[in-house]
Subunit: 238 residues, 6 copies
């Protein structure tokens, strides 16, 4: 059985900009990678689409869904959409129930989700709160007590927000994504409407790469930064 | 060439209570472990000795030195004393120069030292400041430019203080010390004058063990908690 | 077209004590100033009224509404009531929709609202959360996509809570309100039931005035302190 | 009239592990002690029960209720169950109304509840939020204005979470529970299914006892740590 | 034997503005109160004096000393001057030795000193650091081992700085100083050169008085706020 | 009389990478800009030079001085070297006296210096501490009481460190440096030995430019981020 990784993301762009490297890297290592995309970003993250005449909500959602599916495929991941609405997210008990099931089905080795705070975006911390709630309840044996599953609450890695200092984000892990950078970069191009962010997130990767190298002495060109929510247990310090 | 680990500690008890497990564990794995003990604790950490009639500073220092040497040997480490005086430490340029040399000689894979703050003890954060200063200056090629050495600034792990919350200590790593617990526990007994702390630090190890298990799902009985000062670079998240 | 300023306040007293100076000052400068008052404070901020025999909820609300209207007028502002109930606020999707419309109608140059935390008052941080949510969603082109408007998310200034240190409030801006102090002070008198706070908030203004002067070297007698939520962009540092 | 103390707890185990000493101590001093237990912990804190064949939700709840009643009785406290469901708690306006009534009935001299944050448990901070909301609204004269009662918002003490540093818990008060330790320890045994926590929380009490002694110079063997949410007013500093 | 209280203050004004109430109150209760005044404030806190023609360092110091002695006497305290120079303080090993002796002579029930941070004043946090260092070393039996004394490290209360939020000061204790307010206020008048601060610190006392009352329900007109550095041990929570 | 700006920097590179835009911009606006460069970076920031055969301390210092003078000239600033040694800085009373004189000579409208913390570099926070100490003492009329000068303590802006989140740096101001970007970028090329940082700091400027635009709605391509140490006083909020 291969290991799995779970990504809980508010909108499609987020898993590309913030975790595309981790997704592609672990997929390449043989992990089953699954993205839960809570909303299509149809209201708040589709400014370009809405500037076109005759646009409708259905068309925007369909366009964003198509992009997200192609991006996930390029990164090597499955994707499941919750269609919970965006700006703001409307997460229900049914959504929670489904995410708990996913945790139990996957028993993921790690979870990636948003930072704890984001004064620029109300959906991001709501996605984090929701991912944490499901992660915890999945441990509760009294939740669907007849179910068969193996589950241990996985470590949580918070991905880097757009303006990290304003979100009180502090990098604890810099993941070396050199070997999948080309894939991540190509995935940017699927998000044609957010072209202004391609260079921005390429620079983010380069800055984190320099810092990863400086913090460890091992060469790194492209990095992705994460903050851990829980202590890690180690058998050796180096 | 085996890897090395460096421990910079204010007083002898500290490396036993706070890092005895990490020292013994890495020694067992084949690391060359070296302790730099800045002071004998002759003034502030020898209350028991001073209660004896006719005690002198020389006798106290000799007694503490003997204990520290036996403890280091039992843990499998070398020890070097700086005899910098305690309560407060008097660290000079000569001490700094010597510690820089040690960093360059060892090129350690990691450094262990005290927490950043401690309102109960002025020597502890001073030791940390000093260990950090030397770690940084050892990188400066203009320091003893003719010297030959290989050196990369190592990751720093801060060890758990006596009252962790009051020192703003936050565990990021829990090291599993099960396989060396017996050694660590026996080392406590060398510190005969601090018998009241034997049970205290056994309980610390047990609590961190439970937490280590709970955070990771892997069984752990005895743990040692550390806070990392810098981000780590990873090739895989799980 | 004149510039506008928006104030989102939980209860009537708040815009007087905490932002009366900013409102009067900008009104005097020609800004269109609008207050959104989420609740009348009929349950939790009308202790005096409820001590009178035969008091009813309708009477309390009417009294508070009258006071708030007179206070807004004296300060030179429009006021709109959401009547969302207090202790606790019950903010609905309709309220959110209306506040988003207001953001788009006004395209304010700044927004004033409560601090992020307040362990003494549950309505205050809820008002802040709500003001932020609407400010963000108003940017979403998919929200009422046919609407015509000009809107850029404005800077947010958090006003000073009753016990600032306990709310982790940190002043970043001290606004000089000397030229409108007399107006602010007279507005206090409309809030007849909270006479015990008149002197309290006069002292707040005097303390912030002294601090404003000390931090800048420019004389200031009366000040209002604000915390900024976002970085500011500058063309010159002095 | 004796003084009263109120404990608002998410699940039954919490009032035993975290506040059992304070409850027994104040009961012994003649306080009327009341526990509001929001949920039975039937889903998330009954792992042992659910491992038994043929278990049902009713049986789990009945078992937990019985344990909680016996534990409360042993500690000398009344207990009231809200049966709000756990993992997650579903607290309604009716629950809020009832808790407000309880605050007014008891006019407690202090309230004990959970820490402000807990990344391991979603019910704990929700219980705290709820306890605070009711404490504040109970002050609002417009809430049930015809009611007769005496009420002053009491000081709030947050009890120690399972992994205190990860919850940003900082001890400000260490309560000496030596004279009731035997009672607290016996109460552990009622929680037969959580036997693995008996030793854990005995060690917590011993560690806090050592720290209580070290911080004050007065001997203490067993302690319970609390964080205060508000400043205290004193007539004398020592 | 009466209890004692120790105040370690950078400059003369500080013990008046920040701790005058605590000093007078405990003196009235029969405590022996002792002030250690590290510098006369001759360089940085005597702006008025230096504006006079023909002023010399000796005259400024003499004037400040006279004021400080009269203020201490009015509050009911002894005062000892270290004459360590101000802006910046030059604290030597001799000063440290003397302060350690004072801790041991007095065995104070509490210590009052400055806040941990102050971006407006370099002497204030240096005084705090010094007061803490001496408090800790006084515990070291190896310091002057032949000396006879009784000493337990006392609780530390940090007094309120001029701009509390900017110093990350958080009030944990509000001391009711109503019964000595008249004395404190009269002492202000001894500091004739700082007349602009009389009203400022009267307002501080009034604001803390209101807050003290609001936090506890007990009436208080004048308060002094303190932050505790260590947990307190209690026998009862209310 | 033109306004002046003061920059206190540990090493030559710092004023280029971190404040080159602010220096050039204000020089262009007619400010007299002065850089105080505490050390040449001869030991810790000249790795490239030391790799050359036959290098001596004098040669390294001369090379760095030449670079710094050319960079300052290109930015339009004066520069004064304190030659205090680096890794670590050895700042003396004479250095302090000189910096105080400079503050009084310039009476600067603002001061730029390093962040408050930097776990990667011991010289940076030491430079900040020193810049603050001098800024404060320059206010003390008892310091050189016969001197003639006009001085008001200026606002302090902390410049962005290499790894901002690890230094707890939080941007409060983003300065638009578009009109001087070409100058700043050309200055990079003077620092030939640190070619690996040219692209790094170009990306920093681009990222801050995007963020500056996003936070204000005004277009910005290149930005420099600063944190303010003190509140600002305003006459208008927008």
């Amino acid at each position: 059985m291969s290991k799995t990784g779970l990504v809980v993301t508010a909108h499609p762009g987020d898993f590309v900009w913030r975790a595309g490297g981790a997704i592609a890297l672990h997929a390449k290592k043989g992990y089953r990678m699954k993205i839960v995309c809570l909303a299509y970003g149809e209201r708040g993250e589709s400014q370009f689409a809405w500037k076109q005449a005759g646009m409708t909500m259905e068309k925007v959602k369909a366009g964003r869904k198509d992009e997200a599916e192609r991006a996930a495929a390029m990164l090597g991941a499955e994707i499941e959409f919750f269609d919970a609405g965006d700006y703001p997210l409307h997460l229900t008990e049914q959504h929670l129930d489904r995410l708990i099931d996913i945790y139990r089905e996957l028993n993921p080795a790690f979870v990636l989700t948003h930072a704890l705070e984001d004064p620029y975006n109300v959906d991001h911390p709501e996605a984090t709160r929701f991912a944490q709630e499901a992660r915890i309840i999945a441990q509760a044996m009294g939740h669907k007590p007849q179910a068969e599953y193996t589950y241990g609450a996985p470590p949580v890695f918070l991905f880097e927000p757009h303006q990290p200092e304003m979100c009180n984000f502090k990098p604890q892990v810099i993941l070396n994504i050199d070997e999948v950078w080309e894939i991540k970069r190509k995935t940017f191009e699927i998000l044609a409407a957010q072209k202004h962010l391609w260079a921005y997130y390429e620079r983010v990767a380069l800055q984190r790469g320099v810092q990863g190298g400086r913090n460890t002495g091992k060469p790194m060109t492209y990095g992705e930064a994460y903050q851990r929510l829980f202590p890690m247990a180690l058998e050796e310090l180096a």
